[in-house]
Amino acid sequence: MAEALLAHMPALAVVVPLVAAPIAFLAGARWGRPVALVASALSVPVAFALAWLVSAEGEKLRYQIGGWEAPLGIGLVVDGLSATMLLVTAVVGFAVTVYSLGYFADKERYRFFWALWLFLLASMAALFLSADVFNLYVCLELVSVSAVALVGLSGQRDALVAAMRYMLAAILGSIFYLLGVALLYGAFGVLDLAHLAAVLGPDVTGQAAFALITVGLVLKTALFPAHFWLPPAHANAPSPVSAVLSALVVKGSFYILLRLWTDVGDPSYVPGMGTLLGVLGAMAIVWGSVQALLQERLKMLVAYSTVAQIGYLFLLFPLVEIAGSHVVDAWSAGVFHAVSHALAKSAMFLAAGAVLSRFGHDRIDGLGGLSRRAPVTTMAFGLSGITMMGLPPSGGFVVKWLYITAAIESGAWWWAIVVLAGGLLAAGYVARVVVPGFAKARDDASDLDVDAGRLPRRMEFAALALALAALALGVLGQPVLDLMAVGSPASGVIPWTGQ
């Protein structure tokens, strides 16, 4: 029985939240909450089980849906990368669920939240597991629609406009992606990733397909200059939603890019593409950070921080393209960044949301004395800021370490400068929030409502737990590094696994 259960783990990772979603919809405003809590809690052991399976196996696992083998049917694939992303999704998802129980307490307005939320979790899981380019399109759409619906959930004017912008961008991205899929199928006649990898050859249609898919995914990932939809959407969504959008949703499209460029093909498939993405990434780091420095609202600042941090993800491509035998460092850096940023950024948004919901505003100017009024939340924000800056001991530091190593190893040291400069800029915008927090609380200078009640502890501590997890990655990150290396394109030369 246990073995059978283990064998179905990949399917369960999708099915658990997917079944729960309509149930939560049916259950309504009140009973949707326990349904969501149980489903997101169940996802955690499922994700751990998958991670354990993959680690034990040491190579990719496949699960054929409907029993139809690959070229015909759709497969789920579990390797280190997808297991890692699933794990992050489950952990962040659970923490955000716990937070949301406090955030959406007794709000009839958000009665649809739980169903939408579970759909989002399910679609993220489906996306990270899918081994089929067209199925990935459906997953992307599922992710986009649920994410947009969550952004617009509050019905407030800014949120609605942001959702609209997000929706249009997301659909546009999907259409580009779908056009790419059409061309891929036209060129190679298969949809399964592994089969595609096998038959992929130098072909104009195929290369164009990769280009179109990349455009679509860049748009969905909000890489500079396609970030135009992200700041309003992430800033105006309900805070738990912001957390998941920044932490997970943008990583979903990045994940597909990563799959295509390092698993199916490699960055040299379209020469120059890696460098182009890297340059955009560098611009994102600088531009996003600079804009974060200028924001007047806390959540906008955090959103621009996401724009900047997304840039780090894309530094992977040029380094993988040129790194030669040092692919491993760059690849691990990018993936590890996805993980640590997911934890830290969700913590940051949850913290920002706590501030917003407790004090009724998130104007940075009005946050004087915050550390006194909300110490746990400030701490959570500050700790996740450490990861944003890439300072030790944090996951961000490991990322920085790996990127700089890869840059120096491959002789492309200018990427190291970008990484370091980004860290300093991050310090700047994190300081903008944390520093006033330490300011002396004077009645005239602080905009924090003295009578504001306490936040539910679970909200504050959900944020803190995620921030601490991001920090712990900097010290105890080795298992994660080991996990994500399983079956990765670089696993053959990864020194730490001894393979």
Binding site: P375, M389, L391, W401, T405, G423, F438, W496
Partner: protein
């Protein structure tokens, strides 16, 4: 696990555990928090002393207590060696003293949980720095220290404090970036770098990659130089003096700044070793340190703010350590390492005093100290002893370092250092003696006489006893410099190992 390993881990972990407990106890539970703090500090003191004992046991090349955790291909490692033990003991033991002081000093201040929590983290980071076995572990704790210090600098929350904190970050964060680049680059070039007396670079690397190694050295010095307050990276230290007295005392006179110089010592002695001189890197460093000594002293001269004067004095004094390390003769190295401890005891006394004075009589400027010796003779006596010690007046500890440094410099063929020492002595005297003079020889200010007992009104005993203890320690380290286990003797052992 034998006791040495337990002590090693406890020395690093206890301060962090204390911090966690303090944060958890929160603002309201003052008594419990103070108790936890003192117990944690005492435990840490015992642990670092045990580390020192184990280092002493292993001094002749025997196995050292070590522990670690793997990450990437190097991991975090700790080791109780002779050099590290010096800094660990200084930080750990002075923490206990400072804790007692700080509990009294901060007794009417808000946000004490935050203060003491971060304070503990700072000390833990400093001890981690001291006991790090390799460069990356060192770097991790170094950056933790950078961040954990910030809340303490801005603790009061005044605009001035925030400005000071901003200045601090403006220096410390780019420095961290430079350090990171240097550390990674070195790691790429030379593989995992563990600290080894006599240098850790692979044989022949200096011959094959001189330019890269020089660039890395420059980056590392840039990173470490900020905390070590080397000119022109010193600007944050005077600005950080807005912090409460315990912070200025332990962190900005001991833990933080010495983390920088300690790092320089590690890099020069135990990473580059003889290659540093081979590549021609030590002379510029020595010259910079020498310049900093003179520069800091001259700037100190012009400060009326007592803590700023002390801060510039620290700028100058830290470079004694750097200078000793850069000169690289055994005696000079010993001088540097010994001064690490000597300056710590002396300068912390002075900052304690500055805090007491500010708290008790509201005097922040040198010009406000008239006749203070009569108002609080014990405090000012301790201050005077420490000041004389820093100037290098025997028999206080400063002289022992100065003597070793002078002789070591001549051993190293750097006679010009003697002139620097002479100039520094004069300048030190010029900025400290007026303070002593004012305190003891000028008529007391009128407003102090209104107290209940104007003649003898020392501060809270919990503040006075620590500063007396540290002053006595500063005296004893000089008087008993030749005794077994004195910092100077210990430093000589280390120096001989390093120079071999």
């Amino acid at each position: 696990m034998d006791w040495a390993v337990i002590a090693l881990l406890a020395a690093v972990a206890l301060p962090f555990a204390t911090a966690a407990a303090i944060f958890a106890l929160g603002e309201a539970r003052t008594t419990a928090r103070s108790a936890v703090n003192v117990v944690g500090a005492a435990g840490t003191a015992v642990a670092v002393l045990a580390c020192a004992a184990s280092a002493w046991q292993g001094r002749a090349g025997g196995p050292l207590a070590s522990a670690g955790i793997g990450l990437l291909d190097i991991g975090f490692g700790f080791e109780a060696d002779m050099l590290g033990a010096v800094f660990a003991v200084v930080a750990g033991v002075l923490w206990l003293v400072t804790t007692v002081y700080a509990i009294a000093y901060m007794s009417h201040s808000p946000d004490r949980a935050r203060f003491f929590g971060f304070f503990s983290i700072c000390v833990g980071s400093a001890i981690g720095i001291a006991l790090s076995e390799n460069l990356i572990t060192f770097f991790v704790f170094y950056e933790m220290l950078t961040l954990a210090t910030y809340p303490l600098v801005v603790h009061s929350g005044t605009p001035a404090a925030l400005r000071g904190g901003r200045t601090y970050l403006m220096y410390a964060l780019p420095a961290g970036a430079a350090l990171a680049l240097g550390v990674v680059w070195l790691h790429v070039l030379a593989g995992p770098v563990s600290f080894v007396p006599g240098g850790a670079l692979p044989l022949g690397l200096a011959a094959t990659h001189p330019v890269q190694l020089t660039a890395i050295f420059a980056l590392l010095m840039l990173g470490l130089g900020v905390k070590a307050a080397l000119f022109p990276l010193h600007g944050w230290l005077p600005a950080a003096m807005v912090a409460p007295a315990p912070v200025s005392s332990l962190l900005h006179a001991v833990a933080v700044v010495k983390a920088g110089v300690f790092g320089i010592a590690r890099v020069v002695l135990e990473v580059y070793g003889p290659d540093a001189a081979l590549l021609g890197l030590t002379l510029p460093l020595a010259a910079l340190a020498a310049f900093t000594i003179v520069f800091g002293s001259v700037r100190a001269l012009a400060q009326d703010d007592l803590k700023k004067r002390l801060a510039f004095s620290t700028v100058a004094q830290l470079s004694y350590i750097v200078l000793g390390v850069a000169l690289a003769s055994p005696l000079a190295i010993a001088a540097g390492i010994a001064h690490l401890a000597h300056h710590a005891a002396l300068k912390i006394t002075m900052f304690f005093t500055a805090g007491v004075v500010a708290e008790e009589v509201g005097a922040y400027r040198v010009s406000e100290l008239d006749g203070l010796g009569r108002r609080m003779p014990v405090t000012m006596a301790a201050f005077s002893v420490a000041a004389l010690g820093i100037v290098g007046i025997p028999p206080a500890a400063g002289f022992a370092s100065k003597w070793l440094l002078g002789t070591g410099a001549l051993d190293a063929g750097a006679g010009w250092v003697v002139a620097v020492l002479a100039a520094s002595t004069l300048l030190n005297a010029a900025y400290f003696f007026p303070i002593i003079h004012r305190a003891w020889f000028r008529a007391p200010r009128a407003e102090w006489a209104t107290g209940p007992d104007p003649g003898r009104a020392e501060a809270d005993l919990r503040m006075v006893v620590p500063l007396v203890l540290t002053a006595l320690a500063g005296l004893a380290m000089g008087v008993l410099a030749g005794a077994a286990l004195s910092p100077a003797r210990w430093a000589l052992f280390v120096a001989v190992m390093e120079a071999m």
